[in-house]
């Protein structure tokens, strides 16, 4: 009687079972919403930083404008990390011996930049320019959340393509007066009363929603 199973049949079976298990796992993760989970998007996760910088203190309590530190947000693609010089504008006089600020003083003394860990990061295949969004009136809070309530910086939005597209398909309702761009609390903004504001602004700026979803707009 000839053999039914070849010598490699066992291996094929194991490989098949392994692949099937992997498939079930991946399907389960996708079905369960893994892509949108904060484990993948990092929404609400705090990163360890060299200095426990509090946006809540500096923005919420002291009331410093975003642009005091993020100086290039209106003119360039990047909002800009502040130079140590900017930190020391106040901290040359305030909290001068605080242990938490030792890395800042060391940075100034040695000329070595502080190694901040990036929180709001886009994939490298995405072209993003801060200045155009700011000039058209997309407030900081739309993408970065209520940083005035964050003792430690965390990502506020998933930064996924569909989230970008939600706004790009219909930018009107998200537009605000450009001179109030850094305002954090928009609860007092009368959405009903300003129903025409966004569409009017979009028309004024010549924003064409049908062009706003062109692939090459962001993937250059």
């Amino acid at each position: 009687m000839p053999q039914i199973f070849t010598a490699s049949a066992d291996t094929w079976l194991r490989a098949g079972v392994l692949l099937a298990a992997l498939g079930v796992l991946v399907t389960g993760l996708l079905w369960g919403g893994a892509i949108g989970s904060s484990y993948i998007t990092a929404v609400g996760w705090v990163r360890d930083q060299p200095v426990p910088f509090s946006h809540k203190h500096h923005v919420g309590d002291v009331g410093i404008d975003c642009r005091y530190c993020h100086t290039t947000v209106e003119t360039g693609p990047h909002a800009g990390f502040p130079a140590t010089h900017t930190c020391m504008t106040c901290h040359s006089q305030l909290w001068t011996s605080a242990p938490a600020l030792a890395p800042v003083r060391e940075s100034l003394a040695t000329g070595t930049p502080i190694r901040w860990q990036r929180v709001a990061r886009l994939p490298d295949y995405v072209y993003f320019n801060h200045s155009i969004h700011v000039a058209r009136g997309v407030p900081c809070v739309t993408c970065h959340g209520r940083v005035d309530q964050m003792p430690l910086m965390m990502r506020a939005q998933p930064f996924q393509m569909r989230w970008c597209l939600d706004c790009h398909r219909d930018p009107g309702p998200h537009l605000r007066p450009p001179d109030q761009i850094t305002r954090m609390d928009w609860r007092a903004w009368d959405r009903e009363g300003h129903a025409d504001y966004g569409p009017n602004q979009a028309a004024l700026f010549g924003i064409k929603p049908e062009r706003m979803t062109d692939c090459t707009l962001c993937h250059r």
Partner: protein, 185 residues
């Protein structure tokens, strides 16, 4: 045969895992990221000594000449003042900002006679080079904006020290009316 197959499977899985990166981290330098090509390890390099930037002449020209006073200049100055100056000098220029309230040496009021009499260029120079414990703001406030802030400081000073005769007739009438009301109540 069996090991070859397992090896092939592992290779396929590794290739799939590599695909998970999806080119999100491309081998290129980011503005504020590391750059191993340079001795100090930064991608962003300071210009070498003696380098002249393309816009240096335009910046120098903007710094040398005081722009004509206009409503747009004042509006710009007000916005820049509120961002960069008000943390210490406060929005009215009295020097009682949020930062001095936390122990920073309080700046002088912009309404004191010495500063009212100072030329606008003085404020531009202080913004450019700093003064006392005030650091230079040359890296944060563009030359044209320094003049705009100086212009707005002039407006702030005038708001506290304008002669009533300089008002237009309608405004003067309002002022006199307010005085009468104040005296009557």
């Amino acid at each position: 045969m069996r090991y070859l197959l397992l090896l092939a499977l592992c290779a396929v899985l590794i290739i799939l895992l590599v695909g998970c990166d999806e080119m999100t981290h491309q081998p290129r330098y980011q503005a504020a990221g590391p750059g191993r090509l340079f001795p100090d390890g930064k991608a962003m390099q300071a210009p070498p000594a003696g380098a002249v930037a393309q816009d240096d002449r335009a910046r120098a020209a903007a710094l040398a000449r005081r722009p004509a006073m206009s409503a747009a200049l004042l509006a710009r100055g007000r916005q820049r003042y509120d961002i960069y100056c008000s943390p210490c000098h406060d929005v009215a220029g009295t020097g009682h900002g949020a930062v001095p309230a936390r122990g920073f040496p309080a700046p002088p009021s912009l309404h004191e006679p010495r500063l009212v009499q100072a030329p606008s260029r003085y404020f531009v120079e202080v913004i450019t080079s700093g003064h006392g414990v005030m650091y230079s703001y040359a890296d944060r406030v563009a030359p044209a904006d320094r003049w705009a802030i100086a212009a707005y400081i002039r407006a702030l000073q005038l708001s506290r020290d304008a002669p009533a005769d300089a008002l237009e007739a309608t405004d003067r009438a309002k002022l006199d009316g307010a005085r009468l009301d104040g005296g009557a109540s």
